[in-house]
């Protein structure tokens, strides 16, 4: 009986500890607005989550230093879900039901975003910016869900169109990661090629965690395509490109926007010279002085919070998430409500912030960013080789 008592006391203490974390009531206070985000801050995807969070924090710090928005500072609650949807679900429930966040901004990861989008929409909590290009987020449009990143299906379409119309290629090979991102890119490419009465010359699914791609590359070489799309992430794409060059295959290679990060050039070195990438976050170039000024402003804001650090492209994503939310909150007026925020977001018409460029939302169109451009790696830098391209 004594042991039973001891056990009950310990259980009670555990539960009290859980309770102690409680900060209830509304998301909008006289002096602050509480919002939440979920990021992979530990585990294998920490490099993405840490970067994205830095971008968000840098922007919100800057806003808060200026006194916040309509007199309210932005208080960002961060939960580490390790990109595990089981954790995302409980963390998001905690944000909504206990922390009473006003909105969820910039959640990272396809599985987590898909797992909570229905819950947030049903509960009327605006979900602004997802670190994911899953087409299910934008299609069909959902009242409270605002995707920004281009989706992988759309990107597949654009890549296929670019190769056929601009580069006049007809034997397009596709190597794709054997996961949802790779599959969605392949779907997009196949659909677009079907419009041209074509299909991929050869498709090769690969395991993104393997280190040696020689058998895949031999298969590729024996098919002899005239161009190659690699739908992979940074580590595996660099490995494949390097091995292809070692085997002496010299064809144009196109890869996807998650790779458009300075680290890609840093890690890939000479091997990634000439690789073509898509991008949706503009890069500063000499022929685009307006944006160069904005990019400098971004660097300044970022380095105010993280001195002497060069932001990654994940930080840029976080920064854009924070920009879009902050602008919408400003538009929502001195007494913001969740529905007011939704209405404000739906007025975005080709809106340009600092990094965020060309963002549009309407109640029936939640595609977010639908335009992308192509760039090529030349002498260790990204050089744009096309203007903005859309499907419409």
């Amino acid at each position: 009986m004594k042991k039973f008592f001891v056990f009950s006391v310990i259980l009670g203490l555990f539960l009290t500890f859980v309770f102690a974390a409680d900060t209830s009531t509304f998301g909008v206070y006289p002096d602050k607005v509480v919002i939440g985000t979920f990021q992979a801050l530990s585990g294998p995807y920490a490099i993405i989550g840490q970067g994205m969070l830095k971008g968000m924090k840098a922007y919100f710090n800057w806003i808060n230093d200026q006194g916040g928005i309509n007199g309210r500072k932005i208080d960002l609650l961060v939960y580490d879900d390790q990109l595990n949807p089981a954790l995302t679900v409980t963390d998001v429930k905690r944000m909504v039901e206990q922390d009473h966040v006003f909105s969820v901004v910039g959640g990272l990861g396809t599985p987590g975003c898909l797992a909570v989008m229905g819950y947030l929409n049903d509960n009327g909590v605006p979900f602004v910016y997802q670190g994911s290009g899953a087409p299910q987020l934008s299609n069909p449009p959902k009242e409270y869900v605002f995707p920004v990143q281009p989706n992988y299906d759309l990107e597949g379409h654009l890549i296929a169109r670019f190769l056929v119309q601009n580069e006049h290629k007809s034997k397009i090979a596709v190597m794709y990661m054997n996961n949802d991102i790779g599959q969605q890119e392949l779907d997009g490419i196949q659909k677009q090629l079907a419009d041209f009465n074509m299909k991929p010359y050869i498709t090769i699914a690969y395991n993104p965690t393997s280190a040696d791609f020689s058998s895949d590359i031999i298969k590729l070489m024996s098919a002899n395509p005239d161009s190659l799309v690699i739908a992979g992430l940074i580590t595996d794409t660099i490995r494949i490109v390097t091995q292809i060059k070692q085997y002496g295959l010299n064809i144009p290679i196109v890869t996807i926007y998650p790779n458009a990060d300075p680290a890609f050039i840093q890690l890939g070195g000479k091997a990634v010279e000439g690789v073509i990438l898509t991008g949706w976050v503009p890069i500063p170039t000499k022929d685009n002085p307006d944006f160069t000024a904005k990019f400098d402003q971004y660097l300044k804001i970022y380095q105010k919070s993280y001195p002497n650090e060069i932001p990654s492209s994940y930080a840029a994503a976080g920064f854009i998430a924070a920009e879009i939310f902050s602008h919408a909150l400003e538009l929502a007026g001195p007494n913001p409500t969740r529905d007011g925020l939704v209405k404000a977001l739906d007025t975005f018409d080709n809106w340009n912030g600092i990094l965020a460029q060309g963002i549009t939302f309407t109640p029936t169109d939640r595609e977010g960013k639908t335009s992308m451009y192509f760039m090529k790696i030349e002498n260790g830098t990204f050089v744009p080789i096309s203007g903005w391209i859309t499907l419409k």
């Binding site: 679900v89 905690r94 898909l114 054997n178």
Partner: protein, 307 residues
């Protein structure tokens, strides 16, 4: 009757949390992982076998249940039982050849099986491929509407049932035969124990329990995709048993709480969960070789019941 006393506090747990359904959903998850970890415990502690592919049975259960409920509108109870049954059948099919080897070899075979199932699920249309299945409804039954409180009691009831069944088996002839085989297979065979039969039974029971847990998981999270059932999950299940304390439902529950509850408690503090979990694992293995259950000093009370 005294041996069931420890369940009373768990029955009372939801009362202070009725206004905090998200906390209850943490308890629901702990319960679900407890069931899966009991499955692992049956295999390792009872039968002395090892598996680092149990995530596959978890996935089979989750997908069976989700497909039946979402695509065929089967009542949850039937889908739940079917997922256990289907996982068990697959367990037997895999166990038959796999159990001819043991130790490291068995570990590698089960690992390969786990990875294969994850890949296979990704290929089929009916499983939603790599995108998985979304909007899996939470079961509602009679006057009980879909709510975390209701889910909590369902899971608690199932854990309780499993506890009763397992404690009965552990005192039966089959239980004794299993333990004998675990301690010395040669000696057990000399006494006429059919070792393959018992190993297979343990493997099937383990698969069935893990499958049932998978079914509950699918409805609790509402979204499943192949990436959730990777090698990490298999290793976590094994670690839960070791961290909590082998051979008792209570120990396994503590292990599940450690792996599910700890990330939840720490996720808001911007400290690396993986580092804390890793350090805690090492400390526990060094100083509490019998698992966290040792802290409670009640090992003797609960351990006797099951084994």
């Amino acid at each position: 009757m005294k041996k069931y006393l420890w369940f009373i506090p768990f029955v009372l747990v939801p009362l202070p949390f009725l206004g905090y359904p998200f906390l209850l959903s943490i308890f629901v998850l702990i319960g679900i992982y407890t069931i899966a970890a009991i499955g692992m415990d049956v295999l390792t502690t009872w039968a002395g076998q090892i598996s680092i592919g149990n995530a596959a049975f978890f996935a089979v259960g989750a997908y069976t249940s989700a497909i039946l409920v979402v695509n065929f509108h089967v009542p949850f109870l039937i889908a739940f039982l079917a997922s256990g049954l289907f996982a068990m059948i697959i367990g037997i099919v895999v166990g038959l050849p796999a159990l001819r080897v043991s130790g490291f070899y068995l570990a590698v075979v089960t690992m390969a099986f786990g990875i294969a199932v994850q890949q296979i699920i990704g290929v089929f249309q009916i499983t939603g491929g790599y995108n998985g299945i979304r909007n899996i409804p939470v079961p509602s039954f009679w006057i009980f509407k879909a709510s975390p409180v209701y889910q909590y009691y369902i899971v608690l009831f199932i854990v309780f049932l499993i506890f009763i069944v397992l404690s009965r088996i552990s005192f039966s002839k089959s239980g004794l035969a299993l333990f004998a085989m675990r301690d010395s297979e040669i000696a057990a065979r000399a006494f006429g124990v059919n070792s393959l039969k018992y190993k297979l039974a343990a493997f099937a029971a383990s698969a069935a329990l893990t499958g049932l847990a998978g079914s509950l998981y699918a409805s609790a999270i509402g979204f499943i995709s192949p990436s959730q059932f990777d090698l990490t999950l298999s290793l976590d299940l094994l670690a839960m048993v070791i961290v909590g304390g082998t051979g008792s439902v209570m120990g396994v529950m503590i292990g599940a709480a450690f792996f599910v509850g700890l990330p939840f408690l720490l996720s808001g503090y911007n400290i690396s969960i993986t580092i804390i979990q890793g350090v805690a694992l090492i400390v526990i293995l060094l100083f509490l070789p019998k698992g966290l259950l040792q802290i409670f000093k009640i090992t003797d009370l609960f351990k006797k019941k099951v084994i």
